[in-house]
Symmetry: C2
Subunit: 246 residues, 2 copies
């Protein structure tokens, strides 16, 4: 709808929409429709989609369309294990260098989470926590670690967002608020090791809550196994699902 978009902002917008399940896993994104939506031609759209494909959030299929990557828990389990290790690295590699302005932005998200209206909207909570995480990522001093953390966070965030309606949203909001508080306190002390410890603790707790919910309700997102194509080194064009949504 809003015009005045370049390829970069389109990428960011699409990534957020995918993370927040506006474009649910398995849905088809047509370049023509996106071009009409953003008021540009297919060229910038293709650039954004290509980057999304590289980030592992969509898979383009010639003649079919660009499909939002389904949630593959077999793969995402590997991502979770990897992210757990990355969080430890944050404490080991980051010499904290947070600007006061960034701290203010984090305070903003803290207020946003704490002041959500009482019938808590999954969408609003997810949006606020995503923004908190994006701001927090910028506090990571080591650039490669920062880029990688950002990349794989956006691959796994959809799991929590999708599970959120079935979780205790009051509990989730309280957990997020407490995490932000503790992170902020550690950041003010310039203690990235403590930040990492806090992050790890809440990360593990979140995993446990989701796991309890999954084994209880027999997860909705089917763990679509991708055939283990080990012949192609760095290629992620193996999964091939349909299940269109529109």
């Amino acid at each position: 709808m809003p015009d005045g978009h370049d390829a970069d902002s389109i990428f960011c917008d699409l990534r957020e929409r995918i993370s927040l399940l506006d474009h649910p896993p398995g849905s088809l994104l047509s370049e023509n429709r996106l071009a009409a939506h953003y008021g540009v031609t297919r060229t910038p759209i293709r650039r954004a989609l290509q980057r999304l494909e590289y980030e592992g959030l969509v898979t383009v299929a010639r003649g079919i369309g660009t499909v939002v990557t389904p949630i593959d828990m077999v793969y995402l389990t590997q991502v979770y294990a990897f992210r757990l290790k990355l969080i430890d690295l944050i404490g080991e590699l980051s010499s904290s260098h947070v600007a006061p302005a960034d701290l203010a932005l984090l305070e903003e998200q803290r207020r946003a989470v704490r002041s959500l209206p009482v019938p808590i909207s999954s969408r609003r909570l997810a949006e606020a926590y995503l923004r908190f995480h994006e701001e927090l990522t910028r506090a990571v001093g080591n650039r490669p670690l920062r880029e990688v953390s950002d990349r794989y966070f956006h691959q796994t965030s959809r799991v929590w967002v999708q599970l959120l309606p079935e979780l205790d949203r009051d509990e989730e909001r309280a957990s997020a608020a407490a995490e932000i508080d503790e992170v902020l306190a550690a950041l003010r002390d310039r203690d990235m090791i403590r930040v990492a410890q806090v992050r790890r603790r809440y990360f593990e707790r979140c995993l446990r809550r989701m796991n309890d919910r999954i084994v209880g309700a027999d997860l909705e997102f089917a763990a679509t196994r991708s055939e283990g194509g080990d012949d192609a080194p760095h290629d992620r064009r193996s999964t091939r699902q349909r299940e269109r949504t529109k």
Copy 2:
């Protein structure tokens, strides 16, 4: 020169050429020239260059051209620290699953390194070691870790390749051969922890050799500092150098 190229193979070819310094840091890559070289139009070239930009190997500048990312030792020091941690993760996260065919390919590279003609060509040695590394990366069981290891290896490999002519090439060859031997032995025992230990040992030794050479000969690749643009979260379009080569 060779036709029958799609965007993907062009990307791989360009990445190897950049790693092997066929396109030295700071050189300008014109989309038109590349299109003529590969016998296609600018469209697939642009796709390959966009991926290279995302990998951090080139930076496109409108009106200027696409410049091969200069070697920024300030940044690459962070990458080295990160890769050191990644190597440890290989031991922690990888349940080894190497196919016999892959082992055979690694044997191939072992022979290639050991049978280099005696006035050792820097280029040939670098090429053989790069191929060994690419094959070895495929043995990493955790997919995110594999992707990240591959990405940041290609960002730092140029440093060693560029320094190679000034190093003792017999020593470098011997070191590479010994590393491959020990890695192969550990792989045959399905012992990824030992693989990681070996990798880390040789990685640190290589760093030390390069560091000795650098402080001795006052490195040629100027550590071009990039202004710390902390306002753009995931953006690497800050470095802006010229120093064209062709």
